[in-house]
């Protein structure tokens, strides 16, 4: 039988927050057996739409028809029980609980009053295995990096007997390998007849997996399209509401900047790291970063990229090795000390180590600048407003005002604020760990351009990203990590993607 109605249908949905019209009259239809991509710039209203469907927020207007009935979920839990399974943009599991508990929270197998921990542990392991993950499920969630947490959240969602699966940027911190795994699962679920809503800023992924695309812009519906009949550039133009030409221009500018970057001679050495390491975190490594150089760090998930960055910045104390800045040995390891020495570190996990939820956008941006200035030399309000306005413009941060609390911004815009925080502190060495995570295509190009510009002006940058193309685009030199060991270092001119891929995964090939 061919069904004639969508499994999930949203009609002219509207939602306002103080000062922001997040959604206005948006429609969305998801059919069984399709993957429906939801696209739009940061702050377009994608996550809000999802949260309205699952009852996290109450809608102002509109209706939601699910499985042929008008529904009005009062809580995400109710939606889940009725068969709408969701992975939210920010991993919203409980950090202190174990992985197994997180997977089964709210639905312990009903075997009387007693909880059968053994069977829970077993089935948690099973559901993770589907995603090719072998973890100790008794460990607390917080002991795993954000990418693994994301995978656990996905495993949890997939495990429900669902009719609709909603994934809000599930791949934002995953590597190619995990993405492929996820996609094979999505395809299987689709063939089983689930309706799947998929949000991402990666265009390749949209074209790889989705059947239809709904585009939002500034809370308004732009339209629904068949993926096959919507060329990539047109999609971008629809999302940004700009002409194709304009976007192509920024891309061209970026490309020429990349060209210049590739041909540039390196400046003097800024920092030299000798035999730096910490047991259980990363094996001792040597590294040298020159002034005005972008050094890319490539490697698989868990290869030790973030660990290297944390050690360098003094989040964790190294137990071996030395650092020389401007040829002078420096001693001391704390973020405060590193900032004083001219470093900055934009960490990958914006929720736990980036944003300070209750502070405003302005305060969040100013924090690092202020610590650099020192406690007693408070930056005048006027000066603050200037700096903040400058970065809101440069990174196109969509916020009703600089005095908005950062927690009310969309995920991508929060990320931009954190990037702005570190750019504003004007460090001599900036460590960027997945700085474009969750950021839309337009802003991504802007940030990459900024990185190149800053490096031209003499800033050294250590650039970590799981997107190889991005690393290739921006770095002068690339260091490769594998299993917590630095295994290679190469000049960007000399290599292409496949060469790095090989270095990253050598061991796998060898087996």
């Amino acid at each position: 039988m061919i069904e004639s109605t969508p499994i999930l249908q949203v009609k002219s949905l509207s939602k306002s927050f103080p000062g922001v019209k997040a959604l206005a009259g948006v429609d969305l239809s998801v059919w069984t057996g399709e993957v429906h991509a939801l696209m739009g710039e940061n702050g377009a209203g994608k996550s809000t739409l999802i949260k309205l469907i699952t009852g996290v927020y109450r809608r102002d207007q509109g209706e939601i028809i699910y499985n042929g009935e008008k529904v009005n979920f009062s809580s995400p839990r109710e939606a889940q029980e009725k068969g709408i399974s969701t992975v939210y943009q920010e991993v919203n599991l409980i950090p202190t609980l174990s992985v197994a508990e997180n997977i089964f929270i709210g639905r312990f197998p009903p075997e009387g009053v007693k909880i059968n921990w053994k069977s829970i542990k077993k089935s948690a392991e099973d559901s993770l295995k589907k995603l090719d993950l072998c973890l100790d499920v008794t460990q607390p969630l917080s002991s795993f990096p954000i990418a693994i947490q994301q995978m656990i959240a996905i495993a949890r969602a997939v495990d429900f007997q669902a009719k609709v699966l909603i994934l809000d940027e599930p791949t934002s911190s995953l590597d190619a390998k995990e993405v492929n795994l996820l996609f094979s699962i999505i395809r299987k679920l689709r063939d089983d007849g689930l309706g799947i809503i998929f949000v991402t800023h990666f265009l390749e992924q949209v074209y790889e997996i989705s059947d239809k695309i709904t585009v939002l812009r500034n809370g308004l519906l732009v339209g629904e399209f068949e993926t096959q009949s919507l060329p990539r550039l047109e999609l971008v133009a629809k999302m940004m509401g700009k002409d194709l030409e304009e976007f192509e221009n920024t891309e061209k500018k970026l490309d020429s900047a990349v060209q210049v970057n590739g041909n540039r001679k390196n400046g003097k050495s800024f920092i030299q790291i000798r035999g730096f390491g910490k047991k259980g975190m990363i094996y001792p490594f040597d590294l040298e970063i020159n002034k005005g150089e972008v050094l890319g760090l490539a490697g698989l998930l868990g290869s030790g990229r973030s660990e290297m960055a944390k050690l360098l910045f003094g989040i964790e104390r190294a137990d071996k090795g030395k650092i020389y800045i401007d040829k002078k040995a420096v001693s001391g390891s704390s973020p405060k000390f590193s900032i004083k020495k001219g470093m900055g570190f934009c960490p990958e996990d914006r929720k736990t180590s980036g944003i300070i939820e209750d502070l405003t956008v302005r305060e969040n941006i100013m924090l690092a600048v202020q610590t650099r200035q020192g406690l007693f030399r408070k930056i005048a309000k006027k000066k603050q407003d200037e700096i903040v306005a400058q970065y809101i413009k440069a990174l196109n941060i969509s916020t009703p005002s600089p005095e908005q609390k950062i927690k009310n911004l969309s995920g991508g815009n929060q990320q931009k604020v954190i990037v702005a925080r570190w750019l504003a502190s004007q460090p001599r060495l900036l460590i960027l760990d997945e700085p474009t995570r969750g950021i839309d295509v337009g802003a991504k190009a802007e940030i990459q351009k900024l990185i190149l510009k800053l490096s031209r002006e003499g800033m050294s940058i250590l650039f970590i990203s799981s997107e190889l193309s991005e690393i290739l685009r921006c770095s002068t030199r690339i260091a490769v990590l594998r299993d917590k060991v630095k295994v290679a270092e190469m000049m960007n001119q000399d290599i292409d993607e496949s060469a790095i891929m090989q270095a990253i995964a050598e061991e796998d090939n060898g087996n």
């Binding site: 900032i339 004083k340 300070i356 610590t371 406690l375």
Partner: protein, 353 residues
């Protein structure tokens, strides 16, 4: 013109700020008194000094206000300091002993208790930030031990003294105002500006909001916490001097009893969340005034002694409910629903479906 703009700006800012509910509640209490308590707002000048019920509220609120100011900062970092009552007793006891039993210059009578209070605050801060003990437990130690210390200081006795310069602290006046009012508002202004005109305030809120992220920003959370516990203990120490001066004696057992609870309530009523993060010093001051005006009102209304605490608790509950956004939403929901139901039942509107 300019003044008009200024007032409009001010009203707008208050309307959108967190302290508006505490302000409203304070005015409701004042209004209640205006209607039901005769002469509540009557102010007279005796010996060049203002007297009256309303002045009395400000005067008596001083110790709680002081403790609430320090408490606000501690709570903003995500902590709590339940040792303030004991610190207050210790400070008063030291001052009394210095006056009654030792021959030391007056400035030392003022300074030594405060220095010792600051040390106690540093002790709390060290336990919390460097040893990593939960704030409520860390300060519980001093809450219990502090009374013992105060008794040791006074040898277990109530020490009575006469010392006009010291009595000025509670009994004197400046610009026609009781001296405790001057002290509490002076401390309030100093703290307000110290935390606003340096980055201390921002760092406190940042540590309380997300201490992990603050660490990445290069903020030394331990040191910030140390500072706020010291400030809190100092405020309590000053309150101790006022109390001792007021009764011309030091009572190690009852001085500052329950101060921590009143201070915490004042902070919460003032709009600062116990979760830490954003803080509202002005709100806490109003909170302390609400607490005191409530007590004064209940006393002047002649409510039977045995029910005063109950009345007090009920009002505090109502105040906290009004502060809660959830509760206001529920209330709004109830009224809206009824309103809609009413509309639906109206025959005139029958055809709208």
């Amino acid at each position: 013109m300019a003044i008009k703009d200024l007032t409009r700006d001010l009203t707008k800012r208050i309307a959108s700020s967190h302290i508006k509910w505490s302000l409203i509640i304070f005015f409701v209490i004042l209004l209640f008194n205006f209607i039901f308590t005769p002469n509540f707002f009557h102010i007279e000048i005796k010996n060049g000094r203002f007297y009256g019920s309303i002045i009395d509220v400000f005067n008596r609120a001083a110790p709680v206000m002081l403790a609430a100011i320090g408490m606000t900062l501690v709570i903003a970092t995500g902590g709590i300091d339940i040792s303030v009552g004991s610190v207050m007793a210790i400070s008063g006891s030291i001052a009394a002993v210095l006056i009654a039993k030792m021959d030391v210059p007056f400035w030392m009578v003022l300074c030594l208790p405060l220095v010792f209070s600051a040390l106690l605050g540093a002790w709390n801060g060290l336990l919390v930030s460097y040893i990593g003990i939960q704030p409520i437990i860390a300060t519980l130690i001093l809450l219990v031990a502090g009374r013992g210390i105060a008794q040791l200081v006074t040898d277990g006795q109530i020490i009575v003294f006469e010392h006009p310069p010291f009595e000025f602290i509670a009994g004197g006046s400046l610009f026609g105002l009781h001296f405790p009012i001057i002290i509490s508002f002076g401390v309030f202004l100093i703290i307000l500006f110290l935390f606003k005109f340096t980055a201390l305030g921002l760092f406190v809120e940042s540590v309380g909001g997300n201490s992990e992220a603050s660490k990445y920003c290069g903020i030394n959370a331990g040191r910030i916490k140390l500072v706020v516990y010291i400030v809190s203990a100092l405020c309590a120490g000053i309150a101790g001097l006022i109390a001792a001066s007021n009764i011309k004696a030091a009572d190690p057992n009852t001085s500052g009893d329950g101060l921590e609870l009143n201070a915490i309530l004042a902070v919460v009523i003032g709009g600062t969340s116990l979760n830490g993060g954003k803080y509202f010093l002005v709100g806490s001051v109003i909170g302390a005034l609400i607490m005191q005006s409530l007590t004064t009102t209940i006393l002047t209304m002649g409510v039977p002694v045995q029910v005063t605490l109950v009345v007090n608790a009920i009002v505090v509950l109502v105040v906290c409910l009004i502060q809660s956004k959830n509760f206001r939403d529920i209330l709004a929901g109830i009224f809206k629903l009824d309103f809609r139901g009413l509309l639906r039942r109206m025959p005139l509107k029958g055809g709208n479906k």
